[in-house]
Chain length 211, copies 2
DNA sequence: GTATATAGACCGACTGGTTGGTCTGTACCA
DNA sequence: TGGTACAGACCAACCAGTCGGTCTATATAC
């Protein structure tokens, strides 16, 4: 049923979008890369937007199905959550280009500014990774967690905040910070360190407002 | 030193970008909303790109400074990390519009597709939140962690993967998934549940490849 | 105190190139 | 014969950035 050309358009555009972002690729670019024409494109898609929708649907449908399966297969929340995380992470392996189109910063600044921005971000990452590695060396953080992945999980967890945080929401930013810190520290501290830093681990207001 | 108009342009464009995304706002839109002109705009900025850079620099400089402060102020990695997380989260309160410009999906699909996409994403969130709430009711997950925030922290942590995951990287997707699950489960499980689900908590390969 | 010079802030019509989408035509197939 | 799949010339709208010019304020000269 699904035409060969349609699949080829999706595949080709995916590669282009991943490189140059959705706004950095024109319909002309896509059809040229496919060896087809505007007519061919618009025969299969109502608009450039519909192409994007189709791409999104591929991976979102996958994780949704897997999440349902997880709930049906296991009968305790822990196992269900574990399975959901498994499939959720897996989707990045299966559909990375699809997902990149959506979450990638599709800004594509001129090299000069792009470079300046990247530099400061790298500095920040370095500090974070250093602290984590140092914590592992000193025996405060569990060594079996790869420092870089731990660091990235923190960056992701916190950066995602912009999607849902509202100033006049139910929780203050300090409470949110405390919960994040709670989850992360409980997640990565060694048993020894947990005892030592006990007050930090349960949303204590000890350091509240210090930063 | 900094001109009044320049500040006004930044402020106004921020509001527009937050609503319509960087690509959804033209320089004309900005100058009209400011009551200024193209000339006024290009007198203060070399390009639309430079405006974006200025916006980025505001918040990245803030977190960078705070991270340095954290390292200087505290002398153990745990306290340093705690302080870094505090300031990192806080920046979303101080500079949310700035950050949104960068991480927001600036795609702005036509309403029809936008709606379809949102629906499936909401379904996914619902499943995740349900599992977490259920886990709290059954005593497997710590009740003091707000379910919605916990859910969002998982979504963020995993979604961020697209930024750094490489198929031919050092770690397989299964290993990455195991580390994520490890951090999260150690972060949110009750002591009771941790004992019960012990094999899951330390990157055991028990369920590997099941999803 | 007044005329002149200079600089910086700002104006807005205009341009050159681009882009999503349309439309007519054609080749092929049932 | 009619319908589907595709080709590609064409168009109208758009948009970042330009450029000649104005207006105001301050400095300098006399």
């Amino acid at each position: 049923m699904t035409s060969e050309l349609k699949e080829k358009i999706i595949e080709t555009s995916l590669a282009l979008f991943e490189k140059h972002g959705f706004h950095g690729v024109t319909v002309k670019d896509i059809v040229e890369a496919c060896g087809t024409s505007k007519g061919g494109f618009y025969h299969h898609f109502q608009s450039k937007d519909e192409l994007l929708y189709v791409i999104h649907d591929k991976f979102i449908s996958y994780v949704l199905t897997k999440a349902h399966q997880a709930k049906d297969t296991y009968d305790t929340p822990t196992l269900q959550l574990y399975a959901i995380i498994q499939s959720f992470v897996k989707v990045f392996d299966l559909y990375k280009p699809h997902i990149s189109v959506f979450y990638q910063e599709s800004l594509y600044l001129k090299p000069r500014f792009d470079h300046l921005i990247k530099k400061k971000r790298d500095q920040y990452k370095k500090i974070l990774f250093d602290v984590i590695r140092n914590g592992q060396e000193k025996g405060e953080f569990r060594k079996e967690l790869v420092a870089e992945i731990t660091g990235m999980s923190i960056l992701g967890m916190v950066n995602w905040t912009h999607k849902w945080y509202k100033r006049d929401g139910e929780k203050t930013i300090e409470e949110i910070a405390a919960i994040f810190a709670d989850i992360i520290l409980n997640g990565i501290l060694t048993e020894d360190a947990k005892e030592r830093y006990h007050p930090l681990l349960h949303q204590s207001p000890v350091m509240k407002n210090q930063f």
